[in-house]
Symmetry: C2
Subunit: 218 residues, 2 copies
DNA sequence: CCAATCTGTCACCGATCGGTGATTAGCAAG
DNA sequence: CTTGCTAATCACCGATCGGTGACAGATTGG
């Protein structure tokens, strides 16, 4: 929030004061942004009060005051996360006609794969989910899965899975595969021996994924 | 020094002396075991020199002396890991006749799923792999994937995947799904809305997995 | 104008972290 | 017994952690 300052009436150049504006709402936003940025770029390992305060350029006391500590801040991130799906993943069928449940799942898989690949924050949260079992991460996890479930429900429309297939279980496997492969690629450019560096690698992965979906749902 | 303990020569019961034997090899083993136990039970979050020393009941200095620090210790764990596969997963076909590549992959999936579910240390390592990108974890990851690849190769025998299927990519997806679903279950008893608590839940998951394998490989 | 309130900063606390000498305690050869 | 070697411990370092109390400056209501 650069801004404002002139606000005050300093007649001549203030050297480098970077005057902090007194604005609670703005500061809250700065803190929240810093937290999300930090989590996305550094991961949850070094995610703490001090680090966030440092990143936000303010005193950690403000985090306690405005968010009630790190837990509250994480909760605020979770709330923000509610809008993730609709920001990142199209809510329509992209002009396609999804005639079958297989069509739907193929498209959902691709959308989810791309969205997750493109969003470092969401990746970190998923990694966090499978690494720690704290209350903090439970909240985040809940917010994420809720948003995702809503999105899937909306996209599903009136399509129903074929009989004889436990769609919930199969879909869980598919989404699990996507999540894991994206996580693995983000830290080591490969997964289970499959290289995942350039676009060509990912094209192969996408094809394999579609094949799996089609193998089950036809 | 709390006193001295008249230590020496106390005629009657020494309270809790726990006499430490002077034995380097044994101490090294104690440290290594403590490290593995700690990693398995507490996770990589609180995995550090102090914690390991505390868990081993010795001074951290010994870890520096014997293993050259935490990195060396992790490396030692990685070396140990080489024997994981053969300890945990049968190396034969269990008397089954694997006639097709689909038979093979179905069996491998089930074996891997069960083995991973049963081994908390391995789960932690997998979680570590997708959460951090340090040199430490790279070593562990390498040891693990190497052991796994060797096992698969041995099991594969002369079976070859059907033409027209990118088996490497598809198998990576399958193993990714297994790993992620096991990780997720370990921290939240569910994955993508699919409950994973009791044996019945896991039976469903296993069926879904087999269905996927069969959908691709017939 | 003063006083209360709000925003932001600073200094400090105890605990723990990784890391490094210096020191003690047991064992064996001379 | 003395001398050395080595296993093992102790004591301490600076840095950072999460957390808190006190304080300074701006804003606002009376």
């Amino acid at each position: 929030m650069a801004v404002a300052n002139a606000a005050v009436k300093i007649p001549f150049e203030a050297p480098a004061p970077e005057k902090r504006v007194r604005n609670r709402a703005a500061t809250e936003q700065v803190i929240l942004d810093a937290a999300k940025r930090l989590l996305a770029e550094e991961g949850f390992q070094n995610f703490g009060i001090n680090a966030v305060a440092r990143g936000a350029g303010c005193d950690k006391q403000l985090i306690y005051r405005y968010y009630g500590g790190l837990n509250g801040l994480v909760e605020a991130i979770g709330t923000d996360l509610g809008g993730w799906v609709k920001d990142r993943i199209p809510d329509d069928t992209g002009g396609m006609f999804l005639l079958t449940y297989g069509d739907l799942m193929e498209r959902l898989s691709m959308l989810f794969l791309d969205a997750l690949r493109a969003d470092p924050l969401m990746r970190r949260i998923v990694a966090w989910e499978v690494s720690e079992s704290s209350e903090q991460v439970r909240r985040l996890s809940e917010a994420r899965s809720k948003a995702l479930a809503g999105w899937i429900e909306r996209m599903r429309g009136s399509l129903v899975p074929p009989k004889g297939v436990d769609a919930q279980a199969v879909n869980a496997m598919i989404f699990a595969a996507i999540q894991h492969i994206v996580l693995a690629s983000a830290v080591s450019d490969q997964c289970a021996g499959l290289p995942l560096k350039n676009g060509k690698d990912w094209e192969k992965a996408a094809i394999a994924l579609k094949r799996i979906v089609r193998g089950v749902y036809g």
